[in-house]
Every structure is written in C-alpha cells, then in structure tokens.
Amino acid sequence: DAGVTQSPTHLIKTRGQHVTLRCSPISGHKSVSWYQQVLGQGPQFIFQYYEKEERGRGNFPDRFSARQFPNYSSELNVNALLLGDSALYLCASSRDRGHYEQYFGPGTRLTVT
C-alpha cells in the first residue's frame, strides 16, 4: 500500500502571498492531521479532520485553514505568509477516531522570502 503522499515537495513563496498544500492519506484511513515543524523542534499540531469535519485545532492564527474532501484527501491553506511560516509541513493519517497511531508523509518544505 502507498503511504501518505504530499505535494508539492518544496515551495518558495514571498511574504504576503497565499499557499495551498495537499495531502492524500493511506488507503482506508479517514482521519488527517496537519503539523508544522521548524528546524530543531518537534512537529506542532495545526489541525485534525475526520469525516470532512474539523475535530481539533492547535494554537495557530486564523491565517491557517484546512479542509477534507469526500475521498479523505486534505488541503492546508495559509494566507498572508510571514517569514516565520517557513517550515516543514507534515500531514499524518490515522485509520479512524478510535486509532491514535498516526503515519506521516514526507512533508512539504515551505520557504517564505
């Protein structure tokens, strides 16, 4: 089975621009979570979606939003980019609400200049 896939792999944006990151979960997994990882730190939770509904939100500003589609894939959107948004954005999938093990994709490296 294919693992979690993310696109694009790398992205360079300018301050003030908008970005959309995409994620496809492992086949059969219905829950998707997004994390931000800055260099030297562990991943920080941004959002969790299950059955197309937001089930959890971390301490991130409203510039960050996400959604989940009927096929369980997901998008993370970030508006009005700041230099501090430069990070590795990770998507993780889990089977359903009763399973806590999350499997991560390779990430999208976002650089804001």
Binding site: S33, G42, P43, G105
Partner: protein
C-alpha cells in the same frame, strides 16, 4: 497542557555502544505514548505505541519502555544506520492530536 521533554538533545555513540534515550511527559490522562524516527528532511517514521505503565515493545535493536512519568528508548549495539532524530509524542484522553518533544539527535559512528 500536555508537555514532553526529551533528553539528551544530542547523543554520539560508537557502533556497538548501547545507550538509552529519555522522554519525560506530563499529561492529563495518557491515551498513548509514541516513538518516531526522523531522518533529515523527511517525515517521522512510526516505531512504537505504548499505552500503559509497564508495557514494553521491541523492534530489532530498539526497545521502548513506559512508566507513569517517562519512557525510555533503549538502543542495543547500534549501527551507523540507526543515526537519526528520535521523537517522542503523547496524546491524552481529551484529544487525538500528538504533542511532541524536541527530539534526540543520535549519531552512531563506525
């Protein structure tokens, strides 16, 4: 608020030199403790889940243990390919998001 602290921040071992990584946690109702391995520029790779104090899991040269306050990742006779950052995370009964520590960067020299 859940908190996870990992030590040491970095560890350098000689090939074959066994050691342990520590993960201390504070959580209101532990639902699970997770260990991941992360190679530079890549996503974390799932290793173990531990659910209750006293539980142990093993995989090749790695063994994870759990107490009520901390978890250890024991590495026996490590090889250079074990070099990576090892991340510890917890989730509590109230939510399903993972709270991560900052990781331990392990370097195993031949």
């Amino acid at each position: 608020e859940d908190q996870v602290t990992q030590s040491p921040e970095a560890l350098r071992l000689q090939e074959g030199e066994s050691s342990s990584l520590n993960c201390s946690y504070t959580v209101s109702g532990l639902r699970g403790l997770f260990w991941y391995r992360q190679d530079p520029g890549k996503g974390p790779e799932f290793l173990f889940t531990l659910y209750s104090a006293g539980e142990e899991k093993e995989k090749e040269r790695l063994k994870a243990t759990l107490t009520k306050k901390e978890s250890f990742l024991h590495i026996t006779a490590p090889k250079p390919e074990d070099s990576a950052t090892y991340l510890c995370a917890v989730t509590d009964t109230g939510r399903r998001a993972l709270t991560f520590g900052s990781g331990t960067r392990l370097q195993v020299q031949p």
